[in-house]
Point group: C2
């Protein structure tokens, strides 16, 4: 059976999202107060060649271990699940060829026909909850894995439901002080450290959730 | 000038202390609900030869990188500062030869004469706040460094006051779900990752606070 995982950037004080960050409704991101924090969290990603290609950001980029890590996460992902807020932010900022190239299931109350993008990404809007989204994602993923893409609220729902098999945290040297934490109301799941990857300015930590 | 640092064990969800943990007033630690969580956080320490010797726990123990790390923290520490709750717990559980072998400044409202222990540890009870405690500790430390030993409340006070130069977090693969966090109301200090040390079941992360 497919493995269900998430792979996210995390501030050292445990936040996924700075206070009041809102990609879906903000104009001029770079002028928003949360932008500096979010940049500190994600700047290592924007330097990687694979990410720059997928997001159509520009030529070049690093091709070392961090880049290989992003490639491997992409390669293993047969389908993704995301929350509506994340989708709304992405709908405004992804290139036309959305960076998934698989089925993506958006958990939402909004009723909407599948949105087919060039390059193999189709967004399906799931109105009957996280179990249904996972069932559909498993089927679409074939023998690859299912990624819970985010945001924090959706990942927390899957954690609380005991449906996550493994996760990777890319811990950046930044303190947010406030915002939305990953581990908040998610309880005491038993976990095992499986790998530590030290990079220049970020530490990747991989864990499995013990079944 | 001496460096001011702390070096602590942290759960993956950012807690230093499990909910309702109280070494100072609990009997039969091992039967307390918080003991399993605290053990998961600290079990790697209890396996190290240096710690076992210092705490008079028993013969043997590991002599690898984790052990060397504990030795180096001890070697650089010329004086420690701790909160009253941590002292109260330790007073009940340290061996007669307390495991500091330096001056230790206890920040407390309690007025008490210095408590001299065999082996070079003297506890001084400081009633006029964290600045005074740090001033005294710097003087006692000579050309070695000052360690803020804990607990979380005291470390947070020093962090908020901008008085910490560096810190090491030993992140254990355990989720507490509740308790006392390290980073809670400590704001957005700028930090730099200086070292990642991957061990068997814990990850040591060193940071400097940018002055």
């Amino acid at each position: 059976m497919n493995s269900v995982f998430f792979s996210i950037a995390l501030s050292l004080d445990g936040y996924m999202v700075p206070k009041e960050m809102d990609f879906a409704h903000a104009d001029n991101f770079a002028e928003q107060p949360w932008f500096r924090q979010w940049s500190a969290l994600t700047q290592w990603i924007f330097r990687q060649r694979f990410f720059r290609e997928m997001l159509r950001i520009g030529e070049g980029g690093e091709t070392g271990r961090d880049n290989a890590l992003l490639e491997s996460v992409f390669a293993r992902t047969g389908a993704s699940i995301m929350g509506k807020r994340m989708f709304d932010g992405g709908e405004r900022s992804w290139p036309e060829e959305a960076p998934f190239h698989t089925a993506v299931f958006v958990v939402t109350h909004e009723v909407r026909d599948p949105w087919i993008r060039p390059g193999g990404t189709t967004f399906y809007f799931v109105n009957d909850g996280i179990d249904s989204a996972l069932r559909q994602a498993r089927e679409a993923a074939g023998d690859r894995d299912v990624r819970i893409a985010g945001g924090p609220t959706l990942i927390q729902q899957y954690l609380r439901a005991g449906l996550v098999d493994e996760f990777m945290l890319s811990v950046a040297p930044v303190l947010f002080g406030d915002g939305q934490r990953l581990f908040d109301g998610t309880g005491t799941l038993p976990i095992t450290l499986t790998e530590t990857i030290a990079s220049t300015d970020v530490t990747h930590l991989r864990y499995t959730v013990n079944g």
